[in-house]
Amino acid sequence: MKKFFSMAVVVVMLLGIIAGCAPASDPADDNTGGNADFKVGFIFLHDENSTYDKNFMDAADAAAAACGLSADQVVKKVGIDESDACYNAAAELVDEGCDLVFADSFGHETYILQAAKEFPEVQFCHATGTMAHTENLPNFHNAFASIYEGRYLAGIAAGMKLNEMIEQGKFTADEAKMGYVGAFNYAEVVSGYTSFFLGARSVCPTATMEVVYTNSWFDIALEKEAANTLIKDGCKLISQHADSEGAPKACEEAGIPNVAYNISTISMAPNTALISSKINWQPYMEMIIKNTQSGTEIPADYCPGLKEDAVQLTELNSAVAAKGTQEAIDKAKAEFIAGTLHVFDTSKFTYKGEQLTSYMADVDTDDAFTPDTEVVENGYFNESSKRSAPYFDIKTIDGITEK
């Protein structure tokens, strides 16, 4: 008995010593920056190991720094599931005094909406969601970016590369097939691969594309396997819309050029990475922080693009890219900003052999997913103008096949 007590005493003393030795650094002791009691809370689906969430986290840090927020004015919750846990996380952030809450994943939306209804004094912003423009709540907002323009530009780099390989005699023009690893058969992905394809086709008219779905946003093994399947099917270049490094790594092993998303993959695939398109969330996050601080209204549904620097291309890998790629991208980018070029120009593609003259898209959320809005206007499919989240869901326009 005695022995146990003396041991316990020793342990307690040890604890005391360690506590005494520890540097008394509080993670949040500098109180600089305007609106000292302002607080912003972030809800992330995964941690920084997911490229999707990393992109948001980096933007959050940059925006907080640009707005002069101190460490204790920013609260981050990572690994928040798309479940009741998301509502709880939002409510806890409100309890901690957050004036603004941002959530990054599509499945968070209904829980954020629930919190927004319960806490009308707090602003809630949700990326990739679809419901804010019809819910009409003053404190619930959606945002996305016109990433389809970025994908189109990345597609140009892909098409130029195909042309170069054709010229080098690696394959003939009618063998110029690309592969695309998509997460879900969902408008966001369909819009993404179609714009990538149209970008490639704008410079390489014989390009075709095959799409494989993984039915998961993040699965390294599945994405790698999908890329390998596409390579076996004769694809000469691969791109993807899924959040792991599976596909770029498969391409590096097989020596197949790859166009990535969200992050630059040059460091992991120096011989095959071409370029990546990404959404830069920093301008949006800065805007919502500043607007909340000043009491200015936040747009209910916001979709910035190339002009606002919300859509970016990462560094072009000059070791892989074809000559003249940067110039071609810059030219198209200027035309997008000037409004003279449109990704989904109906004269540039056909669906089931016919040109698109009218299309009803499911823009307003309802249980039955009813197509409700005419989106072909002035000779092009007007993506993201009726709602920030993409609604181009015409699966497999001519030239694209699904596996």
Partner: protein
């Protein structure tokens, strides 16, 4: 060295006959304190924060506000419910590691009722139908491997494990069927009508969940300890031959026990959808079906002790999340600390069950 005779090792281990209760608890408390010391060293080495501040943040994760307290109780109730479900099977030495899948099909059945019935029925009838469907789904999912085990003596560990993956794929399939946009996200079902949602009681959304699990806990405790069927489960678990010898129908006990196991899992699925998430995803069970195995073993298959063991797990999980948020740490740091504490808690059972003796050297 080589010339010497083999000498007895300086320490040897003997099984304890049963330690008096306060001594065994003392060992456990010392183990936790040692774990905290080791964690402190790691916290200082990796992050430079004051460990006492980290520990106090950990406590605040569960007790910081009344909302956090309720969330902790809710998480505790769900984990405990699933742990209670696997316990009778484990006591029978039937390795049911399919709780994850049994919970998921219960959740899926509940969500299916909410999806197809909408707000067409009065609320009490609606909830009754959902509950019955969830229990039935859980029973079916548990009964299949039990039947194969009883009939052909198949390996229940592999069978129940594989049934988990079938359940996950079933959920994916139905989400794809119900959500034609292809997003793979069901979202909250009946968000406006709240049809099929368990109501708040005294302003608490989780009140019913917690009360239901409290009742199940008491019932399971009595069932296993005082009922004839509970006794039959223990006998089958100790020795099937003894059970047969004294006239217990082993096959019947296996089937009946697994049906109960599945029904309680189905109930957990019902509570997770109707009383908590109001949706279904492949992650609805969230790994709790596996954590429950640890809770059940640590609790020595005793429903009352399992309240404590599931509390420890939930407390550590909530604390880990709080640390990650408060100190802007990677979630992995918090997970490392949780792992160390659990390692010490589980490891100390060795010292509760065995005595380490020092051999006194002779002739010196």
């Amino acid at each position: 060295m080589s010339g010497k005779k083999h000498s007895a090792p300086p320490v040897y281990i003997t099984k304890r006959d049963g330690l008096i209760w306060y001594k065994s608890w003392l060992i456990r408390i010392v183990a936790v304190l040692l774990a905290l010391v080791l964690c402190s060293v790691i916290i200082i080495a990796l992050t430079g924060f004051n460990p006492l501040q980290v520990y106090s943040a950990m406590v605040r994760g569960s007790f910081g506000t009344s909302r956090k307290l309720w969330t902790m109780l809710q998480n505790l109730a769900m984990l405990l419910c699933i742990s209670l479900a696997v316990t009778p099977a484990f006591k029978m030495r039937f390795w049911n590691i399919g709780a994850e899948g049994q919970v998921l099909v219960g959740a899926l059945a509940t969500a299916a009722c909410m999806f197809y019935l909408g707000d067409s029925l009065p609320q009490p009838l609606m909830i009754a139908i959902m509950l019955v469907s969830a229990l039935a789904a859980g029973v079916v999912w548990a009964f299949i491997p039990a039947y194969f085990k009883a009939k052909w003596n198949t390996n229940e560990t592999l069978f129940t494990l594989m049934m988990n993956y079938v359940a996950i794929q079933l959920v994916s399939f139905f989400i794809a069927l119900w959500v034609p946009s292809g997003s793979g996200v069901m979202g909250v079902i009946n968000q406006n009508s709240r049809s099929g949602w368990l109501p708040s009681v005294f302003g608490q959304r989780y009140f019913i969940n917690i009360v239901v699990v409290a009742i199940v806990t008491a019932a399971m405790f009595i069932y296993l300890k005082y009922s004839k069927q509970g006794y039959e489960i223990s006998v089958v678990g100790e020795s099937e031959n003894t059970a047969r010898y004294i006239g217990i129908d082993v096959k019947k006990v296996i089937l009946r026990t697994m049906a109960i196991s599945g029904a309680v899992c189905g109930l957990a699925g019902f509570l997770l959808v109707s009383g908590t998430n109001h949706t279904v995803t492949t992650n609805t069970a969230g790994g709790m079906g596996f954590t429950a195995i640890m809770v059940s073993w640590l609790g020595k298959f005793n429903a009352a002790i399992m309240i404590l063991t599931s509390f420890i797990i939930v407390f550590l999980q909530r604390g880990a999340g709080e640390i990650a948020t408060k100190f802007n740490l990677n979630q992995s740091v918090a997970d490392i600390l949780t792992g160390i504490i659990l390692f010490f808690i589980i490891g100390c059972e060795f010292f509760v069950n065995y005595k380490i003796n020092l051999r006194h050297k002779e002739g010196k």
